[in-house]
């Protein structure tokens, strides 16, 4: 009997609590914006997109050490990275944040037609080179325009430079082989 009255009372009381919450939200400021007319970033009081927003990725090539973690984390395999190992004495410039680098990143492609914006790559990156930006308006008439090669875009390595380091590495390999065949 006591339980019954308690149950009824709780039913009424929790409904009232819920109604108080919804009436409170009724008079709050809207969080959405009238999108094409107002950009979310322009909304008064917003510094940036919401922290959980998923938008276009950006890779800072000065920070990327070519570890391939992002490509391995990606569930749809839309990141393809090519690296060239550096020969001793000709290491690439260190990371902007100071870390050492042993690999030349000769290609860093993200295919945004495949990307599902899960943000797993940004979590896997050890140096914080790959990040989500606030840019989401980048539709295109040609789907090949959506394959971004960040090496080309940021011009972190010119084609000649890539050819040069590749050749250096090939030579280094040859020398090593020779050394293995005819030891001193």
């Amino acid at each position: 009997m006591k339980d019954y009255f308690k149950n009824v009372w709780l039913g009424v009381w929790t409904a009232l609590i819920g109604m108080r919450i919804t009436i409170d939200h009724l008079f709050r400021k809207n969080v959405t914006v009238q999108y094409p007319n107002v950009h979310p970033k322009d909304k008064a009081g917003w510094m940036d997109m919401p922290s959980n927003a998923r938008n276009r990725l950006y890779v800072d090539m000065d920070e990327c050490n070519g570890c391939n973690s992002c490509a391995r984390a990606c569930p749809v395999n839309c990141i393809s990275i090519e690296t060239v190992r550096s020969v001793p004495g000709d290491a690439p410039p260190p990371l902007a944040s100071g870390g050492k680098r042993n690999l030349w990143v000769s290609q860093f492609e993200i295919d945004f037609t495949k990307c599902c914006f899960c943000s797993l790559c940004t979590e896997a990156c050890p140096t914080g080179a790959i990040v989500m930006t606030t840019e989401f308006e980048y539709s295109s008439y040609n789907r090949y325009d959506l394959v971004y090669n960040f090496v080309k875009l940021q011009n972190s390595m010119s084609d000649e430079k890539i050819a040069e380091v590749k050749e250096k590495w090939a030579e280094h390999q040859k020398e090593k082989k020779k050394e293995a065949v005819e030891p001193k």
Binding site: V8, I21, H25
Partner: protein
């Protein structure tokens, strides 16, 4: 009591007067439906901190017109295996039943479409006529979801009719009349004369205030269930039954179900207003009294309850079927019996 009806006073009792009287609620209903649809869209948006419709007209205020036009243009599909006569008849019965309720709603002391002195009883009777439309539509669609929705609607409405009838019985005891105008007249004066505050009478009624409050809450809950509004929208729960009894309906016929639902919302709000909140009476004695202000008070009070229904819809989740029956038979019914006895005692003491 001589019936006061301003249309009869102006142009006499001829067929034009009857036509006008039967069309006036329809005009009101159309205007109300547009406002209520917009209200539903906007209130739901604001509760979820969205903007709601914004494109049609300034701030989207002609969105309901667009919705109605869209519904009317759509193809009217009748499924091959449906029972055509019943299928086509159902929305009309549903709508006629809700519109019939308007026949006795007193909008003002000088306007009630039909001043029969069994108004309360009439409302109760035609209020449950709509179930036939629901079940007919659900059954004739020849679709398992529709049938389930129709059956659930009947189970639900029949169960909730009983607490609602208990409340109406109590009001009949308190007012000593089933005539809606008479019930409203007894609540005239200040707002503490309303039946939700125990009706007019001496200070003894203070002891009975909780009972009349509970009665009012019982009626609000039961009326939500009778109009199939959330949290009692089990007959049309989209997550389990697609759209319940109107799954197979489209275009014009769907619009009629939709319209009937909104008309029902207004009718139950009007009943709450009439039996608990003084109908067209001004809350402040003679302040802004009279027949013209009466319309204003009546409509605004009713809109408060329409708002309450919309507000509840965006607050509470849907009940399970067993919880639905529990609320009706094990909670509302015993409480309404106790309150009925208590309020009858009050009437004897007065």
């Amino acid at each position: 009591m001589e019936e006061a009806n301003f249309v009869f006073n102006m142009i006499g009792e001829n067929w034009i007067a009857f036509a006008i009287i039967s069309l006036l609620p329809m005009i009101f209903l159309l205007a109300y439906a547009l406002i209520a649809i917009l209200g539903e869209l906007k209130i739901s948006a604001f509760i979820q901190e969205r903007l709601g419709p914004m494109r049609t007209g300034p701030w989207g205020i002609i969105q309901p017109v667009a919705e109605v036009v869209k519904l009317l243009q759509k193809e009217d599909i009748t499924p091959d295996s449906a029972n055509k006569p019943l299928f086509n008849l159902a929305p009309f019965i549903m709508f006629a039943a809700s519109y019939a309720g308007f026949a006795v709603i007193p909008f003002s002391s000088y306007f009630v479409p039909s001043g029969i002195n069994l108004g309360l009883f009439f409302l109760l009777a035609v209020g449950s006529l709509g179930i036939i439309g629901l079940l007919m539509g659900g059954w004739a669609s020849n679709n398992k979801y529709s049938l389930l929705g129709g059956l659930r609607a009947v189970a639900q409405i029949v169960s909730y009719e009983i607490p609602a009838a208990m409340v109406i019985l109590t009001i009949a005891v308190m007012a000593g009349s089933l005539d809606l105008q008479e019930i409203i007249r007894q609540q005239s004066g200040w707002f503490w004369n309303w039946f939700v505050f125990g009706g007019s009478g001496g200070w003894i009624k203070i002891i009975f205030l909780p009972f009349s409050f509970i009665m009012c809450i019982i009626y609000i809950i039961a009326s939500l269930a009778e109009t199939n509004r959330t949290p009692f929208d089990i007959p049309e729960g989209e997550s389990e039954l697609v759209a319940g009894y109107h799954t197979e309906y489209s275009g014009m016929k769907f619009a009629m179900f939709f319209f009937a639902e909104y008309a029902n919302m207004f009718i139950v709000s009007a009943i709450i207003t009439i039996i608990f909140f003084g109908g067209w009476n001004s809350p402040f004695g003679d302040f802004m009294g009279g027949p013209i202000w009466g319309v204003f008070w009546f409509v605004s009070k009713a809109f408060v309850f329409v708002f309450l229904q919309i507000w509840l819809r965006w607050t509470l989740p849907r009940l399970r079927v067993d919880q639905l029956m529990y609320v009706s038979w094990k909670v509302l019914l015993p409480f309404s019996f106790v309150c009925f006895l208590a309020l009858s005692l009050l009437v004897m003491l007065k």
